[in-house]
Symmetry: C2
Subunit: 229 residues, 2 copies
C-alpha cells in the first residue's frame, strides 16, 4: 500500500531563469531544479509514488529527470494544464484510491529539508485534512489599499507559506471535483470547502528558486552543505 | 549645506551570526556588515553626514569601521539606546537643523543598491513626509488569528518593507518628540502623527543579513557582482 503520493506541478513555462527552458528544468549545481525537488520528496521514506505534471512536449524529458532522481520510487508523468490547479487535477487522476495522503510540492522549492516533508505528512496522517509548512515573515509587511494608501500589518501574526502542502487524498479530490473555485492554491480550495488548514514548521531553505538571485543562494547552500562537488 | 543625513541604528547585540560580536560587526566577505551598509549609503552623493548608533563600549570600533567606509563623508557615532527607536532618537539629536532629509537604514541591509537609496531620497525631496522602499511578497502569506486559525491574505496587496526609510527631518523629529508612541519603526511613528507613507520601488538585494543563510546569499551576490576578490 502506498501511504503517501507526491504531486509536482512543473508545467509552468516561466523562463525567468533563462536558458530557454521551463523553470523546473533550469540547472542548479549542474542538475535540473526538478531533480533536486524530487530527491527532497523521496528522502521521506513513506512517499511511494511521484506524479509530475509536465509542459506539453516535455513529458519524456521530465520523466527521465524525475526517474533519475526518484531512487526507485515509482514515477508517473502527466501533461499539465494551463494553470497550476489544472495540473494538480490531472496528476490527481493518476493517484490510486488507496493512497491516504497527497503532498503537492512546487518544483521550485528544490531544497526543502526532509524534516519539513515529514512534518507535513505527519500532520495529515494524524488527521488534519490539510497541512502546510510556514515560517515567520522577516520583513515588515504593508497592505496597500485600493486608494494607494497602505497600512502596516502586525508581523507577529503573519506566516509565509511554503510547500509541500499535504492533504487527505479524499479531501483534495473533493476540492478539485468542485467546479468554480476561484482559489489559486490547493490549501485555499480545501479551505473553501470548510476544512481547516494546519500550519506546521517550515524552513527558510524551502524558498522558491525563481530568480537568478535565488539560484545563487541555492548553489551557495548546496556548496555549504557539501552536496555540491 | 548637508541635504541628506543617514542614521544607522547598529546598537543591536543580536549575535545570531556568531563570532561573539554584534551583528553589524559580523564579517561579510572579510569586512563588517556595517562597512558594506555605510558604503551603500554614501554611494548616494547627496548623503553628506552619517550618524551611527553603536552598542555601549563599541563606539570607537564602529567609528573606525564607519569612517573607513564613508569615503570622506563626515561621520558621527553615538551610544545607542535599549531599543531601535531610542537609538534613532539619540542619533537624530546630532543632526544639524539645516538637514532636509533623514534616511534611517538597517546596518543588516548591507547590499541595498544605490538606486533604492536614491529613490527614497528623491521621494522625500519631492515633498513626501515619509518614503519607504518595498518589494512584492513572494510567498503566500497567512494571518494567524488569536484562536490559532489562519486565513490567506491577498498577496497582490502586500508589500515587504525595506530600508533606508526616508523622512522629512522635521517630521521625524516631531515623531520622536512625541512620547508614548508604541510604534516599533520610524515609518509607523510618523504615520501615527497622521502623515502618509509613500512606497517606492525596493530591491530584493536589500534583504536583511541576519542568519548564516543570509550571509551565504550576500557573499554569493558580492562574488557574482565582482565586488569580492
Amino acid at each position: 500500500v502506498t501511504l503517501i503520493a507526491a504531486i509536482v506541478p512543473a508545467a509552468g513555462s516561466g523562463e525567468r531563469l533563462g536558458a530557454g527552458v521551463p523553470k523546473a528544468l533550469a540547472l542548479l549545481a549542474g542538475e535540473p531544479i526538478l531533480a533536486h525537488a524530487i530527491r527532497a520528496l523521496v528522502a521521506e521514506p513513506r512517499v511511494g509514488l511521484v506524479v509530475v505534471a509536465a509542459p506539453p512536449g516535455l513529458e519524456s524529458q521530465m520523466e527521465r529527470t524525475t526517474r533519475g532522481a526518484a531512487g526507485g520510487v515509482p514515477v508517473r508523468v502527466v501533461t499539465g494544464g494551463a494553470t497550476r490547479v489544472a495540473s494538480v487535477s490531472a496528476a490527481l487522476a493518476l493517484i490510486p484510491t488507496d493512497v491516504a495522503v497527497v503532498l503537492v510540492h512546487d518544483a521550485a522549492r528544490a531544497l526543502v529539508p526532509g524534516q519539513v516533508v515529514a512534518a507535513v505528512a505527519d500532520a495529515v496522517l494524524a488527521g488534519a485534512p490539510a497541512a502546510v509548512p510556514a515560517v515567520a515573515v522577516v520583513d515588515t509587511v504593508r497592505r496597500v489599499g485600493a486608494d494607494g494608501s497602505s497600512e502596516t500589518l502586525d508581523r507577529a501574526t503573519l506566516r509565509a507559506v511554503q510547500t509541500p502542502q499535504g492533504f487527505s487524498a479524499d479531501v483534495l479530490r473533493a476540492a478539485h471535483a468542485r467546479t468554480g473555485s476561484t482559489a489559486t492554491d490547493d490549501a485555499g480550495m480545501v479551505e473553501s470547502l470548510g476544512h481547516p488548514v494546519t500550519l506546521v514548521e517550515g524552513d527558510y531553505r524551502a524558498f522558491k528558486v525563481t530568480t537568478r538571485m535565488d539560484l545563487l543562494l541555492a548553489e551557495a547552500l548546496l556548496a555549504d552543505s557539501g552536496e555540491a562537488s
